[in-house]
């Protein structure tokens, strides 16, 4: 029943029913609901602070307003808050007056409009909405007679809160639309039909085959064929219908759709037996199965959805890359203990997903359904084909390729290909991307020792060249960064400027630079003094002007085992060329004798010359 209501709510999403509220998520509302009635004074205070912010936005529901007012008074009342005697109000008279005022407001706010409309008496109406009689009497007495006693109004305030709880907070909690549940439900439906369609096709094939074998009963097989094809059309229709409805939900709640899709993906990944794209068996019972049992099914869904909403692919990419980044960074926090098996596996799966998404993106781009540019220029008009900036996406991919997955390196090249910047592609190919090294590794594993040494020498030479290149680049950047940029920065940092790039996104949200999934900004101040805690801006915005690096290039050389440190020298440094947003805790450190040491330029060059001696 509840679910039906939600469905209706979502289907008519743009007809009516949308109201301006002071909270940006229902989660925020829930936080206030839970903490405002908490017994912990600090939680209550936090909730009251939030309500104060809501009040300033102007569209606060009265029930919340009154609840907060009553609780605020109770916070001043030593009867309720024994511990807080300093801030408590000592005058009983004042407290009684505050309580009375709050109760008068409560009654008036909920009864007065009805009273005006129906002309029935206040007490009659109060009874109709279940408002305790005591509250009505207090309103009457405090307006027309003596001030009621503190003991009376204090008790009444508790009753008032109870009434508010059961007449606003609880019903509202139950009425919150569960978008994800709704999306899950529709996707499940879609999966059901996709499977049914597949099963049917298999059956049709088999029928055909048996028909060919037997070559008889022409009439009957023709009939079944017809029935089957008509059914197939029906399935297609349903599937496209659902996919349209999911797309519609996606327009309103892009984040939720994408994360539900990821949920499905995770479910699939956690099932190890199902790593390869297994074909669906015919006799599976849909209802008792896990949500999705095939990667190909998920891919089908994404392809279908992205046909209508091309940006879904970008949203998916974003969430996948962020997950990789997350897992990777968590692993780096305690870098000496390797990632757990499951995590490594998860990363692997996530990584393998990236090129596929990109290939799809390429298809959409080639068919002109989505515009991809290297750099996004702000434009005021509405473009039919929305343009997407690849720059940041590329940068993120590059930084993540440090994870060492060849899929990601592949993706980097794919991306640069997509951007159409051949120069960039060439430069990227020069990079020691992990995929190339994997090939090296594969080669020398199957050859004899001499060739291994040869290989190593080659690798070391290559590394030397790259180090040389890096050194040069870092010098150039040092020179450049000392120049005009600082002045530019100062002016830009302190004035109003037109944002450098912008993607349409709802008011109150921030655009993600490489996907359509806008994000609700985190609005909590970490500290009371915000200026002090603001993280200095990294100047990645400046990147677009030219491709020369301008940060000090600290070199990050990782080595999995120290004995063969030189052999397996792996450079993940060149990614710094593209001034990556990711702050790498390993930056500027070398693993020497099992300990990560900070290495400055001089030491770095010393190491470099050592490499040279080794080669000679």
């Amino acid at each position: 029943m509840m679910e039906d209501m939600v469905m209706i709510g979502l289907r008519n999403e743009f007809m009516a029913g949308y109201k301006l509220v002071p909270w940006s998520t229902w989660g925020q509302w829930n936080f206030v609901r839970e903490s405002i009635f908490s017994s912990n004074p600090e939680s209550v205070a936090a909730a009251l602070r939030k309500v104060a912010a809501w009040r300033s936005r102007g569209c606060l529901p009265v029930a919340i307003d009154v609840t907060a007012v009553i609780l605020e008074i109770q916070c001043q009342d030593p009867f309720f808050r024994e511990g807080l005697l300093d801030s408590a109000l000592s005058s009983e008279e004042l407290l009684a007056m505050l309580y009375c005022m709050a109760i008068v407001r409560l009654v008036n706010v909920f009864v007065e409009p009805l009273h005006k409309k129906t002309r029935r008496s206040i007490s009659e109406l109060a009874e109709a909405i279940g408002l305790p009689r005591a509250l009505i009497d207090i309103r009457h007495e405090s307006s027309h007679r003596d001030l009621p006693s503190l003991q009376l109004v204090r008790l009444a305030s508790v009753k008032a809160l109870d009434w508010l709880k059961s007449n606003y907070w609880e019903p509202q909690r139950k009425a919150i639309p569960d978008v994800r549940k709704e999306i899950r439900c529709r996707l499940r439906e879609m999966i059901h039909y996709l499977k049914a369609k597949y099963t049917q096709r298999m059956k049709a094939k088999r029928a055909k085959r048996s028909h060919q074998l037997r070559a008889c009963g022409k009439l009957s097989s023709q009939v079944t064929g017809k029935i089957l094809s008509s059914k197939a059309i029906d399935f297609n229709k349903r599937i496209s219908k659902i996919s349209i409805s999911v797309c519609r939900v996606y327009s309103a709640y892009p984040l939720d759709v994408v994360s539900v899709l990821m949920e499905f993906f995770q479910l699939h990944v956690s099932d190890f037996s199902d790593i390869t794209d297994k074909e669906i068996t015919e006799e599976t019972d849909v209802c008792h199965e896990p949500l999705i049992n095939s990667m190909s099914l998920l891919k089908t869904i994404i392809t279908k959805l992205s046909h209508n909403r091309p940006r879904l692919l970008l949203s998916m990419l974003k969430i996948v890359l962020e997950m990789i980044k997350d897992i990777h960074e968590k692993g780096q926090d305690h870098f000496l203990s390797p990632l757990s098996e499951a995590k490594v596996c998860q990363i692997k799966h996530l990584c393998s997903f990236v090129p596929w998404l990109l290939m799809n993106l390429k298809t959409l781009k080639d068919s002109g359904r989505i515009g991809l540019t290297e750099e996004l220029k702000p434009s005021a008009g509405r473009d039919a084909v929305q343009k997407v900036s690849l720059k940041k996406l590329l940068r993120l991919c590059l930084s993540l390729s440090a994870v060492g997955d060849k899929h990601l390196s592949e993706s980097v090249l794919l991306l640069s290909d997509l951007s159409g910047n051949t120069n960039l592609t060439e430069r990227l190919k020069k990079l020691p991307l992990p995929c190339l090294q994997d090939q090296d590794a594969a080669e020398y594993s199957c050859s004899n020792i001499e060739s291994v040494i040869l290989q190593e020498e080659l690798a070391i030479k290559k590394a030397t060249e790259k180090l040389q290149y890096l050194k040069l680049q870092s010098r150039i950047s040092n020179v450049k960064s000392m120049g005009t940029e600082d002045q530019d920065n100062d002016v830009a940092k302190n004035s109003w400027i037109l944002a450098k790039s912008w993607i349409p996104c709802p008011i109150g949200m921030l655009p993600c630079s490489f996907s359509s999934t806008s994000v609700i900004p985190v609005l909590d101040k970490a500290d009371d003094d915000c200026q002090g805690t603001i993280i200095p801006e990294n100047n990645h915005d400046k990147f677009g002007k030219d491709h020369t690096p301008r940060e000090n290039h600290k070199i990050n050389i990782q080595s999995p085992d120290t004995e063969n440190a030189i052999k397996k020298l792996r450079l993940t440094t060149e990614e710094r060329l593209y001034s990556i947003d990711v702050i790498n805790p390993m930056e500027g450190r070398l693993l020497i004798d099992g300990v990560w040491k900070k290495v400055d330029e001089a030491e770095f060059f010393a190491i470099q010359s050592n490499i040279r001696t080794f080669v000679q």
Binding site: G9, L10, E13, F14, G17, Y18, K19, L20, V21, P22, W23, S24, W26, R49, A52, A53, W54, S56, R57, G58, C59, A63, E127, A128, I129, Q172, A175, I176, P177, A252, S379, A380, R382, N494, S495, W496, I497, L498, A499, S501, W502, P504, C505, P506, I507, G508, M509, L510, I520, P521, V522, L523, D524, K525, D528, C530, Q531, I534, I535, E537
Partner: protein, 380 residues
């Protein structure tokens, strides 16, 4: 910057009774022998104050090149936006007396609510500040640069509204006070120079005129307006100015989409101060309070933030906040060179019209479904 918009007065033609013509002529003539007139128009709401002040403006413009206009009606301002008090210098006749048009003010203050009752002291502070500004800048009659001034007042003429009007009149000491009276006597202001304690009339001229539209029994017909819709309409016209005029924006949805797509201005948040005009907001919640709301963009320039009358250059929508990068994104039609001095955001209670937030694919997170606003009734 002229935009016609019928303000809901209906299609009824504007009737200017002979008595109005006479009154306007009288005021305009006055400046021939004395300093230019400073005329306050007052009277109960919907009585025709606006229409008369527009008519007077036109009449004055036939004698003066420019006319000053001080708008103190924060609920239904004449040329600018709700929540604002403003001084305009107008040099162009109003062609359609019925329509509301947006004009950029010469100077403006952001009061932040649609009724002066929210903070009478601050309201009076703004009125005084703007009036002083006008006298200082445009009423230097020794330099023969003095302009006449029309002062439009709110229609709230009882209780605190009356007290405020009295305070205003005392401070301004106008040369002319035009009272628009309606047939329902008890709704009118007291007759005569009600703000003075009897004596010093001086060079003051009191003019009573009667509401223009009357019915068969000679009762005033008041032009009722839906104030809320009107206010949204004005904000709509204002934020439409963010876009080139050839961009086809007709409906709320067009505008909402255009606003969501518009490349906003960004500024480091640490550069700005925030002042909540009518609410106490804990410091930790400032961003929750600001995101996706309408703010006044003001110039603090060293004044203590507690003082009134910070100059406001216009309104803006805080369209997003990026705390990590210390950036706040603002949409406003104010040209960028005027923004550079802005270092103070004033948050009042001017609610963002829901029409701005509700558009396919760009639905603001502050719009929610299944919001309980009616309580369940147990009986009935």
């Amino acid at each position: 910057m002229l935009m016609g918009e019928n303000d809901g007065a209906g299609s009824a033609p504007v009737i200017i009774p002979p008595s109005w013509e006479e009154a306007a002529e009288f005021i305009a003539r006055e400046g021939d022998t004395a300093p230019p007139p400073i005329a306050v128009i007052c009277g109960p709401k919907n009585s025709g104050k606006s229409t008369f002040s527009r008519y007077l403006l036109n009449t004055l413009l036939s004698r003066y090149k420019k006319v000053g206009y001080l708008d103190t009606d924060v609920g239904q301002p004449e040329f600018f936006l709700p929540g604002c008090l403003s001084v305009h210098i107008i040099d162009e006749r109003i062609s359609d007396l019925r329509s509301w048009s947006l004009k950029s003010p010469d100077r403006c203050c952001f009061f932040g609510d649609v009724s002066s009752k929210r903070d009478p002291q601050a309201y009076l502070g703004h009125v005084r500040g703007l009036y002083d500004y006008f006298l200082g800048e445009h009423y230097k009659f020794y330099e023969k640069q003095a302009l006449p001034l029309i002062i439009n007042t709110p229609g709230w003429v009882k209780g605190t509204g009356y007290d405020l009007l009295v305070e205003m009149l005392k401070y301004i000491s106008p040369t002319h006070v035009v009272q628009v009276r309606i047939s329902a006597e008890r709704k009118n202001l007291p007759k005569g120079a009600f703000w003075l304690d009897g004596e010093h009339y001086g060079s003051l001229h009191l003019i009573d005129i009667y509401s223009a539209r009357t019915d068969f029994f000679n009762q005033s017909v008041l032009t009722r307006k839906d104030a809320g819709t009107l206010r949204d309409r004005r904000l709509f016209e204002y934020f439409k100015l963010c876009f080139p005029s050839d961009l086809d924006i007709k409906t709320n949805k067009d505008l909402a989409y255009a606003l969501a797509s518009l490349c906003p201005y960004e500024v480091p948040f640490s550069r700005l101060k925030v002042k909540h005009l009518h609410c106490q907001v804990p410091n930790s919640e400032v961003f929750h309070s600001l995101n996706a709301t309408i703010v006044g963009l003001a110039i603090n320039s060293g004044k203590p933030p507690s003082s009134f009358s910070q100059q406001c250059v216009g309104l803006g929508i805080v369209r997003g906040i990026d705390i990590k990068n210390d950036r706040i994104y603002v949409i406003t039609p104010v040209p960028i060179h005027n923004l550079q001095k802005v270092d103070l955001l004033l948050q009042g209670l001017i609610e963002i019209p829901t029409g701005f937030l509700q558009v396919r694919r760009c639905l603001s997170p502050y719009m929610a479904t299944n919001v309980l606003h009616k309580l369940p009734e147990k009986d009935e």
